[in-house]
Symmetry: C2
Subunit: 339 residues, 2 copies
């Protein structure tokens, strides 16, 4: 097998569908990093039940590695490194996780992750590398190597706009990546405005996903309890204001699209599911990053900032429960004094 | 036994200590309503382990009733009805619960409950009755008739200021109640500014208690995670602003007193405990009432309103889980449309 050397890190629900899509396209030598399910996947491959690709049994890519270090030690210079892990910079920075497999000035990084302003840390660390920003609406879940894709792979790819290298080079890499990924059954779309797509997705994720996670309710109960109107809609308007200050006029129907996206379903968004499972939440990329941009642009964000403050305490609890730190038995007495 | 006919409704952790204090004072014929623990208490009485009163075994008041209706059917005209239940107007209104035992123009109602602006519904329903507002800092827990009082009974009693009857009559009833309650070991205090005490207690309850309940953390973790500064302190400042517009200047140290009240303890406030136990929260009296006053006084409350909106969704979930209502299997599709 010849072709582009492609490594995908994080072959869970979304990652496996991306990997299989690249495999079907047939233009790459595909490797993947699978951590939790390595033993099983390495042994029997993936079983996929996909709305795009049908039933696939025992699928394996060319190479399967249990870690990024193992993928690096093969000696391969990867032309593309696709990252489909969760993005949790307050726990492990993605740009550091991928460091062993990124060749400066060569490797194109493709970030298919939730959140906003994800490329910035890569430009700081790898100023000569192209980073492609991938926004996906695929619905897919992985359970120990059995992947169930329930919603078609609708994905949008654009240049992350590295300020240190020519934009036309970056655009050409986006187009090349689409040729690696398109297989006639998925429909990845080339875009030149990834930031607008990121903002649009934040309308849902920064406002509804966060509110549901805090209140412990799905989007239907958020609406029926009045919290959609009292909390999420004002938060959405703050995202629209930040985007506007950032030079992006979000379309008029963006709020409606967000609130009607789950019509008919008592839908539990990702952050709520993480909280219920006791997993860390993607708080920094969903709220922290956009709040830093709001501050740079002098946009007031009373709702989003309060949601962020409360979710920081939730994250603190989730991280403590996962053993990331241990507190003393006696609570330290604070020196703080307020007037 | 002669003396004032006193009925106490809600003999849990706080209520039992109040009842026992009245018993020791010896100026009343005391009846209590005990619902959940009636059978046991009626049989063997209370076992009390009290920082104020020591060990007391098998204590019973003159009369024990399993319901307000039973207390009413005794035919007694109660001179005092003390209410120490939780106050959950969105589930059951206290002024309706107590109706069978309130004689218009006669019965003095004593509300020893958490929250703010508790007397207003009584004045609307019983315009000729005195209502005494009791603010207590007692720490006491009841477990099936075994009561453990860990913090001394510090209580403050003032007129609720019924606008329909003379204030001097109300003040004299407060003083009379203190003579019924004081026993030389507890120290109930006569106050003429109950609203200020209610506001002071809201500094803690409307800001820290609510934030802890939403984030699922104790007050220590609220502080360490940054949410005390990001959420609770701004919410406290809104309470101070509402009080000020209401003509009450809260003391300079009120924020410090609130945040240092739990020094050294990983303390879980009441609303957090309710959420963890799946019990409804005292949301309306802790936040709803003060927000209605803020609106009347045109005070902006971005933090408190957002906390309220999120906690409405939490209350919705808690009430649904307790079977207060049932939702359809398919989520109804909303007609709402936002621009």
């Amino acid at each position: 097998m010849t072709g582009h050397k492609v490594l995908l890190i994080g072959a869970g629900g979304v990652g496996t569908i991306v990997a299989y899509g690249i495999h079907l396209a047939g233009n790459s030598e595909l490797s993947i990093v699978v951590r939790r399910d390595f033993a099983k996947v390495n042994d029997v491959g993936y079983n996929i039940d996909s709305i795009d690709y049908g039933i696939v049994e025992g699928w394996k890519p060319e190479n399967i590695y249990p870690s990024v270090a193992a993928a690096a030690s093969s000696g391969t210079v990867y032309q593309y490194v696709i990252i489909t892990t969760k993005n949790l910079p307050d726990i492990a920075k993605v740009e550091e996780l991928a460091e062993p497999v990124i060749t400066p000035g060569v490797t194109v990084v493709v970030l298919i992750q939730n959140g906003f302003d994800l490329c910035r840390p890569f430009f700081d660390k790898y100023p000569k590398n192209v980073v492609i920003s991938g926004i996906t609406y695929v619905g897919s879940h992985n359970s120990g190597g059995s992947v169930h894709q329930t919603q078609p792979d609708r994905s949008f790819f654009g240049s992350g706009r590295n300020p240190y290298i020519p934009e036309d080079l970056q655009e050409s890499k986006v187009k090349e990546f689409l040729s690696i990924y398109s297989n006639g059954r998925n429909k990845p779309v080339y875009i030149t405005n990834e930031r607008e797509y990121r903002y649009k997705k934040l309308i849902y994720n920064a406002a509804m996903n966060t509110s549901c996670a805090l209140a412990g309710v799905d989007t239907g109960r958020l609406e029926l309890s009045g919290a959609l109107d009292a909390v999420a809609i004002p938060a959405m308007r703050e995202i629209i204001a930040i985007a506007k200050a950032d030079g992006i006029n979000l379309p008029n129907d963006c709020i409606n699209n967000a609130i009607h996206g789950d019509d008919g379903d008592w839908f539990e968004p990702s952050m709520l599911i993480d909280v219920k499972k006791g997993n860390p939440i993607e708080l920094e990329v969903i709220l922290g990053n956009v709040l830093r941009v709001a501050e740079e642009l002098n946009v007031k964000t009373p709702c989003l900032s309060l949601l962020y403050g409360l979710l920081k305490a939730v994250q603190f609890r989730l991280r403590e429960n996962q053993g990331h730190f241990t507190l003393p038995i006696d609570r330290p007495i604070s020196e703080r004094f307020y007037k």
